[in-house]
């Protein structure tokens, strides 16, 4: 017993020595200060938005950094009403969910085929997908709009296939790297067990892709939820982000409502992050190792 205690003491002493050894401690302190400063820089605009969302417009104009003298909760009620919040929230939710599911399904299946069928054309198609990632959206914006119009895609549901098309290249790239790491024997074993290719993919391979699927889903949810330019072209005024545009214009500048509306629009995605952060970190790190 006493011997065990002695060993524990030794270990603890070593740890304390490591903690208190001055050059390492100083370095850690420096890193911590830098991290705190960075956190403050990143959080400051969000904090400013939150504080100003409870102030009146004149109060904001006079001193944007001051705390509110009286909590203007009516800002939220007005922003909710003026932006038609439930409708734009539902639209954004539908677009984000539909597009993300579409991207995950299409790109995982495409990447699977591109990895497992080692034809020359597979490599060419994969390269084409990769190249398309470097084409800026602004370059394809006008023809995309023209095509979407001719295909009657200028609707809430019509924007979903456009998002799927735009989101697939990066997702295929990520899935491609990950699927290469899935042992082929598992699929061969399933083939001998009697599974068809679809069953092999959905019952055996797809569950193994959970880490990268989480990463792909999270990246796309963040992108689609926050996207401004594409909905502006296709469905003006009908998503949460476009609704923010209402309060800042040529003839109107209502910072109080704008701030309250921004808090309203950001809160679902912040909530999503807080719930999913464990999976986000796990997903991103797993993707990094395998990809």
């Amino acid at each position: 017993m006493s011997r065990t205690n002695l060993q524990v003491d030794e270990v603890l002493q070593k740890r304390i020595q490591i903690k208190t050894s001055s050059p390492k401690r100083l370095a850690m302190l420096f890193v911590e200060i830098v991290m705190c400063a960075l956190a403050f820089i990143f959080l400051f605009p969000a904090l400013l938005t939150l504080v100003n969302s409870f102030k009146s417009h004149p109060e904001i104009v006079m001193n944007p950094f001051a705390l509110p003298t009286k909590l203007q909760l009516s800002n939220y009620a007005n922003a909710w009403r003026e932006t038609n919040f439930p409708v734009v929230l539902a639209n954004t939710f539908l677009i984000t969910l539909g597009s993300t599911i579409g991207i995950v399904l299409v790109s995982s299946m495409a990447a699977y085929v591109l990895v497992r069928f080692k034809w020359k054309i597979s490599w060419v198609i994969f390269l084409l997908f990769t190249f398309s990632m470097v084409v800026p959206f602004q370059a394809i914006m006008v023809p995309l709009f023209a095509n979407a119009k001719s295909l009657n895609l200028l609707t809430i549901l019509g924007i979903i296939p456009i998002y799927i098309g735009l989101g697939c290249p990066l997702a295929i790239f990520m899935y491609h790297g990950f699927i290469k790491g899935v042992p082929l024997e598992i699929e061969e074993s399933a083939a001998i067990d009697g599974a068809s290719m679809f069953r092999r993919f959905f019952q055996v391979v797809f569950p193994l892709l959970t880490p990268i699927t989480a990463t792909v889903a999270i990246l796309n949810v963040l992108w689609i939820w926050n996207d401004f330019l594409l909905p502006l072209l296709i469905i003006p005024g009908q998503t949460l982000q476009l609704a923010q545009y209402k309060f800042i214009g040529q003839f109107r500048q209502d910072y109080a409502l704008a701030m309250a509306s921004l808090v309203l629009s950001a809160s679902p995605i912040v909530l999503f992050y807080l719930i999913m952060q464990k999976y986000i970190i796990k997903g991103i790190s797993a993707g990094a190792v395998k990809g």
Binding site: E185, I186, S189, I192, D193, V204
Partner: protein
Amino acid sequence: MARVVMEHVYKKFPNGVLAVNDANLEIKDKEFVVFVGPSGCGKTTSLRMIAGLEEISEGNIYIGDKLVNNMPPKDRDIAMVFQNYALYPHMDVYNNMAFGLKLRKYPKAEIDRRVKAAAKILGIEALLDRKPKALSGGQRQRVALGRAIVREPKVFLMDEPLSNLDAKLRVQMRAELAKLHNRLKVTTIYVTHDQVEAMTMGDRIVVMKDGVIQQVGTPLDIYDYPNNIFVAGFLGTPPMNFLDGVLKEENGKIYVDFNSFKFFVPEGRFKNIRAYVGKEIVCGIRPEHINDVEFVPDFVEEDTFVAEVDVTELMGAETYLYVTCGGHSLTARVDSHTRAQDGEPIKLVINPEKMHFFDKQTEKAIL
């Protein structure tokens, strides 16, 4: 249950590599056949062709009486155990074993009965609700076997199933696999590069090299009567000694001359070997057929030679002597109580009846 037949089977990969070259083999019903050979010899490719995971370039493969050349793996009524187990990581042990039966739409009660019966045979009943990551290597191996057993297939295919296990567990699982085969009596094709596994487990061994079947036979047959230098050198630990010499005849006796020493050929073998008199041949002798004279009560002086001991390796029950004689290096497996010392000369005796002779050009055995 079924026999497996390979008829003039070839496998040529798109990059031009000929992985299997004219394989002809008949595996009998309930037989345990081991494919053995070094890496890249075509043994796994042969197994994968039988499984249907690899297309065959030419020839025919029959399982039972059915030609299976173009039959998908699921219809061949086979089960395969992979080197890395290939368990489904997201399913528990029960579902890993039940997956194939579910796909074949067996009734739930039947699936349950089979899974539990297989789990009992393999001693993994307590692990049925665990995921593969919570199992040790040996347990995973059992689950992989269980997955094969529940299907009650015509043929078991095993691709180096023990090579990921540690040495002790490998020996244990080797015996269990043999027991399992005796119990289930299913035709089994087993691939390994480990000659000990091949010798201990197989009813018959198929030795392969560079895509060509070198020899097929019972373990003892192959060990005692190897077809060529490759087979002779591949089976046996330590490997057979090979010495280049010239076959000579003098005073009615035939011997292999190695310049500084000679081995006399027993009279019983004169008939086949006489044609090589005056030619260079390769003489092969296994280490256990070279002994320290001190431990051989009756020996003929002409079968002895003196060599210098380079290294002695005490293995417990025996000692390996690495010796040099007239520029030839030899390994002898002698009694562990030998007085041989590193750097000292030692008088050794060979068993001439156990000598092997090979044609130097063709490397084939002179029988």
